[in-house]
């Protein structure tokens, strides 16, 4: 078992799966000889050649639309959007086509493609290289949205996505790419889509998070452990559909819930989890359900003091946890 970072894990998993399945192709901007701007496809062009690792024109809409066509005729495309912020020209293809193909044709046509999109802030990327897009796309049924936060989960979820009968938006948090390392089994395994994971058990309150915020929440939980407050940290891993059973079971044990995400606070994943708890965990709750999302401004600012203010961090998450624990 090797220790890898998330970027290496995604690259190795794509290579392994492409060796196993000749129908898998990769397309996107700079995925060829350049190996992707984050190096996620490094080596794939050399190994699999220009017919399976295809530099696309600079046109996100076409990356998805051509991927749809490939999938309609039996290929298994991995479509890379260079930064999640640049996905919007492809919005029509994703929302009107990818997510609707099965439903509108009663399953006669499907397009099980995997859309990989690096997302998230705190990396000096400013308004257009930092965005979180999960809530936007989670709103559209017909599309799975996953967001692994560890190397182990990245491999398992990417393999699950490549085996899925339906399309998957595979969100990769940029800040975790090289920062987060962990053991990754060499053997093939799957982390099922739709399953959350308790990354740290605790009895006093539950925190639901994903992506880079998992690691900020784990840091905050460690601080609170020193204050004898035991926080349960639940990694949602799949945003759509939510793993309701794991969420409800956790709150049944802790009676308190906080949701943390770096996406904007309003109309997001936090609201969805809170609505679930309001409807189905009302009798279990001993405190208001809290959410900590980024301010409702339309992008992560570049200037460092502004970026720091925008991004949820362990110190402020710990403050939110304390408030809830003391309630």
């Amino acid at each position: 078992m090797a220790v890898k970072n998330i970027l290496e894990t995604i690259r190795d998993t794509m290579a392994e799966e492409m060796r196993r399945d000749p129908q898998i192709v990769v397309t996107g901007e700079d995925v060829g000889p350049r190996g992707g701007v984050f190096r996620a496809t490094q080596g794939l062009y050399a190994e699999f050649g220009p017919d399976r690792v295809i530099d696309s024109p600079l046109s996100e809409s076409s990356i998805i639309a051509v991927g749809i066509g490939m999938a309609l005729h039996g290929l298994r495309p991995i479509c890379e959007i260079q930064f999640a912020d640049f996905i919007y020209p492809a919005m029509n293809q994703i929302v009107s086509e990818v997510a609707l193909m099965r439903y509108r044709s009663q399953g006669a046509w499907t397009c099980p493609l995997v859309i990989r999109a690096p997302y998230g802030g705190g990396i000096g990327g400013g308004l257009y290289h930092s965005q979180s897009i999960e809530a936007t796309f989670a709103h559209f049924p017909g599309l799975y949205v996953v967001a692994p936060a560890t190397p182990y989960d990245a491999k398992g979820l990417l393999r699950a996505a490549l085996q899925s009968a339906d399309p998957v938006l595979f969100l990769e948090n940029k800040k975790t790419y090289r920062l987060v390392k962990g053991e990754v089994p060499d053997t093939p395994y799957v982390v099922p889509i739709g399953r959350a994971d308790i990354k740290r058990p605790g009895r006093d309150l539950s925190v639901f998070c994903y992506g880079m915020m998992l690691h900020e929440c784990l840091k905050a939980a460690e601080q609170l452990a020193a204050e004898h407050i035991e926080v349960e940290v639940v990694d949602l891993r799949t945003i759509a559909p939510l793993d309701k059973a794991t969420i409800l079971d956790s709150v049944a044990r802790t009676s308190k819930a906080l949701i943390v995400h770096e996406d904007n606070q309003s109309f997001g994943v936090g609201a969805e989890v809170a609505a679930l708890l309001a409807a189905e965990a009302f009798d279990d709750l001993d405190a208001p359900v809290l959410r900590y999302g980024a301010p409702d401004v339309p992008g992560v600012p570049f200037s460092l003091p502004l970026q720091s203010f925008f991004m949820p961090d362990a110190a402020r998450i710990a403050q939110s946890m304390r408030w809830l624990a003391q309630y």
């Binding site: 901007e29 700079d30 060829g32 000889p33 350049r34 190996g35 701007v37 530099d55 696309s56 024109p57 600079l58 046109s59 809409s61 076409s62 912020d85 640049f86 919007y88 020209p89 000096g124 990327g125 400013g126 308004l127 257009y128 290289h129 906080l258 606070q265 809290l290 959410r291 900590y292 301010p295 409702d296 401004v297 339309p298 992008g299 600012p301 570049f302 200037s303 460092l304 003091p305 502004l306 720091s308 203010f309 925008f310 949820p312 402020r316 998450i317 403050q319 939110s320 946890m321 304390r322 408030w323 809830l324 003391q326 309630y327």
Partner: protein, 367 residues
Amino acid sequence: MTALTLNEFITRDYAAELPPDELLRAHRLMLLARKLDERCWILHRQGKIAFHISGIGQEACQLAVGMALRPGRDYYFPHYRDLVTVLALGMTPLDIFLSTYGKADDPSSHGRQMPNHYNLAAQRIVSISSPTATQVPQCAGVAFAIKLRGEQKVAMCALGEGATSQGDWHEGLNWAGIHRLPFICLVENNHYAISVPLDKQMAVAGPAERAYGYGMPGVVYDGNDFFASYNATREAVERARRGDGPTLLEARTTRLTAHSSDDDDRTYRDRAELEAQKQRDPLPLFTQALVSRGLLSQAALHATEAEVLAEIDEAQTAALAAAYPQPEETLLGVFVADSVGDRAVRAWCWPGGRLPQSPAEEHADGR
């Protein structure tokens, strides 16, 4: 149907009519932009700035825009490599450094955008985003408004050849052609979209080949030659002002650096190719032309170099000393001040931060 050559397109040698002081002003601008650009690379290598994206090698076609448009009257939607263009249109080295350092007085975005995302409304430089080609149909919209209002203005946008693959590019040119708008689209064709070469971007020799499909002339010229670039750009501007409609300009140029400070072009670009391109560096070409015309002496060149370096040093020092925005300013400017939207945004706080009292105090009275 192919693109036009410069000689097929122009009706006059506009560059020959530029007076010596204008040529020297242009040369100083190119020198200033080059030295400022080089300074940013140095600062990045020293770890003192987070990011830089360069215009080095493309300055001649860019500067031609700055010299052909009327600052503050004609509209310009820049490409992110257009440092010399925005300097020619009225931005200053201090403006550039304030943005690079993310300082509060950055006129482009008050520290919100990454560097090189230019904006200076007073000079009609329209704020650009990072998604590519979005500005092209917007530029058509400005041109439509100019036409509707009966003004003698021009709306111009610039982008790289990679961005012409976006649907927005097609949509913008289609509008401009249909309505014969006072619109100019400059494609700075440096043959690379980050790593993707031209032949993986399009099946034709360049974007100007497509102009016929939009009902406008497409012109190809040497974008590293200031004189050729000025002639092409000025003719397009005159056409637009005369009411003769839009033009697609394609400047064949060279990107003499990696895509950005985050890129390493050795993984995809042959060094010999780059060395050959350096022989076409627009700055020495322009300098040599002015020297051989007797307009610029070596002594004057050295004096100007010293002058622009001093100007850059001064701007850098001032920008370093300038204040950062206050953290809470993150919440300002989403909507007009004191509106219902603005109040909603400013009300944000993280849980726990919202409640100054301890929960025990807050709920002491009989929850």
